[in-house]
Symmetry: C2
Subunit: 563 residues, 2 copies
Amino acid sequence: MSKYAIGVDFGTESGRAVLVRVEDGKEIASEVYSYSNGVIDDKLPESGVKLGHEWALQDPDDYIRTLSHTIPAVIKQSGVDPADVIGIAIDFTACTMLPVDKSGKPLCTLPKFRKNPHAWVKLWKHHAAQPEADKLNETARKRGEDFLERYGGKISSEWFFPKAWQILDEAPEVYNAAARLMEAADWVILQLTGNERRNSCTAGYKAIWEKATGYPSKDFFKALDPRLENIVAEKLSTDIYPLGVKAGGLTPEMAKLTGLTEGTAVAVANVDAHVAVPATTVTGTGKMVMIMGTSICHMVCGTEKKIVPGMCGVVEDGILPGLFGFEAGQSAVGDIFAWFTKNCVPESYETEAREKGISVHELLEQKASAQLPGQHGLLALDWWNGNRSVLVDTDLSGVILGMTLQTRPEEIYRAIIEATAFGTRKIIDTFVECGVAVDEIYCCGGLPERNRMLMQIYSDVTGRQMRISASAQTPALGSAMHGAVAAGKAAGGYDTITEAAERMAHLRDEMYSPILENQEVYQKIFTEYDTLHDYFGRGDNDVMKRLKRIKAEQAEKGKKGKK
Amino acid sequence: MSKYAIGVDFGTESGRAVLVRVEDGKEIASEVYSYSNGVIDDKLPESGVKLGHEWALQDPDDYIRTLSHTIPAVIKQSGVDPADVIGIAIDFTACTMLPVDKSGKPLCTLPKFRKNPHAWVKLWKHHAAQPEADKLNETARKRGEDFLERYGGKISSEWFFPKAWQILDEAPEVYNAAARLMEAADWVILQLTGNERRNSCTAGYKAIWEKATGYPSKDFFKALDPRLENIVAEKLSTDIYPLGVKAGGLTPEMAKLTGLTEGTAVAVANVDAHVAVPATTVTGTGKMVMIMGTSICHMVCGTEKKIVPGMCGVVEDGILPGLFGFEAGQSAVGDIFAWFTKNCVPESYETEAREKGISVHELLEQKASAQLPGQHGLLALDWWNGNRSVLVDTDLSGVILGMTLQTRPEEIYRAIIEATAFGTRKIIDTFVECGVAVDEIYCCGGLPERNRMLMQIYSDVTGRQMRISASAQTPALGSAMHGAVAAGKAAGGYDTITEAAERMAHLRDEMYSPILENQEVYQKIFTEYDTLHDYFGRGDNDVMKRLKRIKAEQAEKGKKGKK
């Protein structure tokens, strides 16, 4: 009799459950729930309380509704006996965090705090804690805190402590009322199992925790703000569990809500990006996994801790148990292509695409594919949304160079794609220079599925073979795999994620290999990219920052002028 | 009884005659003739002989047809008695040159040479003499020829001697059969008057002639090619006449052809750009005239010869008699805006423009005008067609810097306009640094008429008042003014171009003055432009040249691959 596992992927706008056959990873059924309150970035639900600039919240009830809607749906679709579902696991956006009371109830669900924005879930892309992040980084630098180098020299405003500190700064009553500050991922596990079992991935990548030394010192937190001195003891937990570990069994209430059997194994939570690694078949070192979509997340594991400039983080047990997981990223990739097609493609191309019955992206790819590398004479820097790795600088901006009066839209499109490939190459080179091997590349996400030219360019630019995950819902599959591991072999699952990956994860047959003559041309152009990368990115010419300053000043003046 | 003068402006695609009242410059009638053979860049008329890459020819018969079509037409339209037309003058594109026989007949009109491309008129934009230009420049540099610095350090492949040398190199039979090699401008004057009276403007700006020292030495020409040693004596003439001088009276044949009176005063020829200077009211020093269209030509006069890096030329009597005329230029301006609207404006904007019943340019201007300077955070280098002044480098290319995911098309459009203004500012600054005063700016051409935002940006960026010619056909008006001067006061005209300009040339009422707070912001952004100008343009980073080399190599490989 086949056994099954369920993975639930909590995204930014919706949650998705996938029911997977344990023996071979076959995805039997899947269901999506669109959060009824979506991303809350204008005003609170019900009360209509207005939110500030750069705020982004979520409603924790949407997570429960995801469970109650999608799990019964996949059971029903598949016709599987709930008793044959041996494990369940989830993955989440991160850092997405919330304050809860002693019983684990989100403060925003209490009438007292319902109208207080700080009582709600702060979504990963809540950017209003920048002042706290700036102060945190300054203090850490001054004190020479070792942890900074594990995170490319900078703690992001998206991460746990800036967000926690913002609550304390702006709503101390919420901070004080919070028995716990939790990653939403860990909070859902608490709901499912009744156990607070925080996972090593969010702790490591988002909350400055490491296995060997734990969280930053009390002294450090005190230096930030005396009220934060005991934040770890008072609001967090030092019990951190590696991925794939069982967090507990499904509670009776949750069994009822989901239609699953009470006591079904539940794994500790994971992060959506990191859980995709084993789902792309990767369980060892030297194999980089790239999640390629609006942005790119690069993950690779090694056996030793290495300090790599500009990476997002290195965390022991952070991606695969027993290994050091390294993460880096490009803050805009598909987003730049979308910007281009929205803002820079002429009407005649739209008409041509309609006549051919293809998308504008496809038309541009067709036209751009007709050229050899370098034939457009263009070079771009892929910094439309700043540079995450290796420069860690949100104030950088995009460049296109080499235009003539003959330059065509598809040529600029190709140059932008190449620029993002050069950005990835720069990240890979930096890893390799620092002793982290990157031998092959495994891809998942939306871009690899439909962009053959892009994939070939990435292979040519990086000089590496590129393989693609067979699953279109890699994070949910990865979660299901972790559910099977939490259940264990005895229950019909697996004892390790490596075993689970061997059976449940698959690659597409197609693969991209570097073409020697393209590689040679791209090597020359990458050298040019690298020179401009350092010229504009490392302080030789800070024109981008100065232009952004003028832009901000003039926008301010423009606003005043209109009043 | 009013007197009249006729100016004929020979352009690239057509010729235009304007009949002007001498007392006040009122333009009474005008008529255009589109050359029946247009620009000949693919194959010769009649024979169909194929032309090489970068060739551009014209048919001299088109010039005669222009005279026979347009002059009778303006006489007829105006109802003016031909006896009251006291003078006629022409202006021409340059260097546009042709080989003629002893009787002044173009060699291409002789059956023997009809099928030989080198016997036809080489149009200004014939670029196939680049190898000759390269050799000429190299030889001049090696020999330390003084004349180089009068032309920004480089003789263009568009100019007289590279074109003449190409004829010798590739068709010595044509070269040997040519009794004269002439500017088409001077050839038309020869046709009108029977006199070979070459003008100082084309001689100075296009044929390395200067009043004080004449042409380059025989030694120099011999060093180029022994057969060229006596080119000046054999094929040119050392009789050079300043502008406004009477070349002669209309011949009986030409009187018959045009319907004018035999003996009507004909001025020596002029160049289309330079003749616009007095037509824009400028007859003295410190006032820069800018012809703003697909490109910009900058002209200013001074009392002393100065060497200005990267200018196109300094010629005594070259623009106004008695003054040193300085010329500089930007090789693409309106062309870049046209490139942008053709290649980079999304369908939604085209739709919006149609709905509003305005052009896309107007829509972009409307949207871009809503912002303050610097509010887009962008910076561009205006080198889509290389940089004519002050870098004199056709291998440079365009740059746009500062894009974010929020950047809109109108912002890039504005940044490109600003880049061309910064290019003009750089030229002005260079003149001023070298002791050539530029106090005010006078504009004519297509751009100033319809681009208010552009004009204000130029005024803000240059910190100078911008005035605009009242005439929409400034070169033809300028020619008519020279016709009136050739006739002289006694005949009802004027004795000097200054007197003619005082009466016949007019400005629009509208004027653009710099706005202090805009100027301050643009000063900051210009500093950034200047830094990148030197970084990419003066050898710090020759990435543009290297990309063009890769582009050429790959285009070649692409062609072979397709065979």
